[in-house]
Symmetry: C2
Subunit: 340 residues, 2 copies
């Protein structure tokens, strides 16, 4: 019996050792494998460690661990044009057979002629008309199904992959890492809320109810005895610049403790996040990687842009604040897209 | 050794039996202990069983298990006046020393004289003025702290208890039961979103980001270099009647599969919920219990009301639809408040 007991002890010890080993591996596992080591990766890991350390001076209750993310240029590619604009242009082309008059009317004429300079020349008035015909005049259910179909087939002109595959792997790492540490992650984007919602759960693991965005007005009505919500060609809310803290307050009702952006439209969101008490993390993705993605913004030799512009004044503000961090896509990210 | 083996087997068997016993007790535990047995309790239990049964014809993925609840009169007492109105009247009294002119100006004169008929006579214009001085002109942080302080001290005139103790225990049972079954629970109320948020987590277990309500416009601005959000005396959104499905679409972006209300203001929310595909549950709390709470609405001998009115046409609609259920507070609820 002594021999058997010894055998049993050996087995138990082996199992325990294996458990310890596994847990050791898990604790040392890199939570942000797509990031190169450096101060930005370190800032994220140290922030998460600090706010989740129970009894520590920076501990934050799970219910207050709110992190907000801009979408275009922060979570996925926004060049050469915003994905939602690509959708709108494709919709105009798809709808054109029913609108023979568009052959002679701007901005539709330029869209159908693939003349992007002509589209741009139509300015804000042109854009409003494009959005009115492609985003309004249908029910929310019809719009959702149109958007879903488009995401399933449309491809990015340079990368020749579905737009939904152009999320940034390092930001997916951050989303997963934060959620694994009790954070609730939200999108707070200037993009249309109902354009994003059909894909955010699949692409980012962010459910529709955690998406804040711009919206148009809607109207509840009965059609053949069935209630529908119709989309109207009137702006309801622009979730950009000062609209971001307003949208956060309106939708979430809590101040984030971490915010991620990439352009001048995100400045107020980061300021609002940073002005709260306790430890905070503010990060801006800087597009300086023309080879793997795009380069634009305030640095020598980088072209300026109208899509997701990162003004020098924002770079100055980020550099002046200790808990704001500028992420260099070129230096900080080991990998850009999931498929690499 | 045979004896030891036998002993070991007995211990193992005992542990297993205890586990089985516990799990058996747990499965038979009443998930809605404050409800009397009857068709309404049964409808809730059967609905939850159906939508959570994997592989079953009515199974709903956890992410789509959205349940929405009106607040006033559905989750807590709304008589003799809405809690938010009681707050506003108290605020007028607290602010009066700084406003000597109110002694001669309606609706403030009537409020200070405790003349509720005079307040009512000032109508919509009076109510707008009351809301403007008590709900606007301060930052969101100041308003939150005022509301929090008020909830900590104010008491209901009849029950002489904090308003936060006047949630309905049977509805707390439903909230807990749904959440234990993978539901996400939301408030969708005509009440002010920033009036409710300071108490919903503590009272209902519903965090701020799952509260949809009426709101006023806000403005982001810098004060002494610090960003603040100021509350403006302008309506932003009325989350009542057709505003409820619009608010649900705007904030949640998913159609609920279960909705709970108690008045004409909830009709469109229930219609919108019921018009989706698959199994749905729609319930209306009917206040017919003058003894334990209040009685008002369309039934013989019950007085009509302007606070949370339940019109006969809504009762007719509920009776005509198979998956709408009218909860009788008197008959269906074993207990009304948590403290009983």
């Amino acid at each position: 019996m002594r021999k058997n007991t010894f055998l049993l002890s050996s087995i138990v010890a082996g199992v325990f050792a294996a458990m310890l080993f596994e847990s050791g591996v898990s604790a040392q596992e890199d939570p942000l494998p797509s990031w190169n080591d450096g101060p930005n990766k370190q800032a994220i890991v140290e922030f998460v460690a600090a706010v989740t350390k129970e009894g520590g001076p920076d501990f934050v209750e799970p219910g207050a661990r709110i992190a907000t993310f801009d979408n275009d240029g922060t979570l996925w590619t926004e060049h050469p044009i915003y994905t939602q604009l690509a959708f709108a242009l494709d919709q105009v082309k798809a709808m054109a057979p029913d609108h023979p008059e568009w052959k002679d009317e701007e901005p539709f004429k330029s869209i159908l002629a693939e003349d992007m300079k002509g589209v741009a020349a139509s300015g804000k008035k042109g854009l409003t008309e494009i959005l009115a015909v492609t985003h309004a005049g249908m029910s929310t259910a019809e719009f959702e199904s149109t958007v879903t179909d488009w995401f399933a087939t449309a491809k990015h002109p340079r990368f020749d992959r579905p737009y939904t595959e152009l999320a940034y792997q390092p930001m997916l790492d951050v989303l997963n890492y934060l959620r694994a540490n009790g954070f609730k992650t939200f999108i707070v984007s200037g993009g249309g809320i109902e354009f994003m919602r059909p894909m955010t759960d699949e692409v980012y693991g962010i459910p529709a109810e955690q998406v804040v965005g711009s919206s148009i007005r809607t109207k509840f009505e009965m059609q053949d005895g069935k209630p529908v919500i119709m989309r109207l060609a009137e702006v309801n809310f622009i979730d950009d610049k000062d609209g971001k803290p307003i949208g956060i307050n309106q939708y979430i009702g809590k101040r984030p403790i971490a915010s991620f952006g990439n352009s001048g439209g995100d400045r107020e969101m980061l300021e609002w996040t940073g002005a709260g008490d306790g430890k905070r993390l503010m990060m801006l993705v800087f597009h300086d990687d023309a080879k793997r993605e795009y380069a634009y913004g305030p640095a020598d030799g980088q072209p300026d842009t109208h899509i997701g512009a990162f003004p020098q004044s924002l770079m100055d503000e980020a550099n002046a604040r200790a808990n704001w961090h500028v992420i260099s896509m070129k230096d900080d990210w080991k990998q850009v897209f999931p498929s690499e």
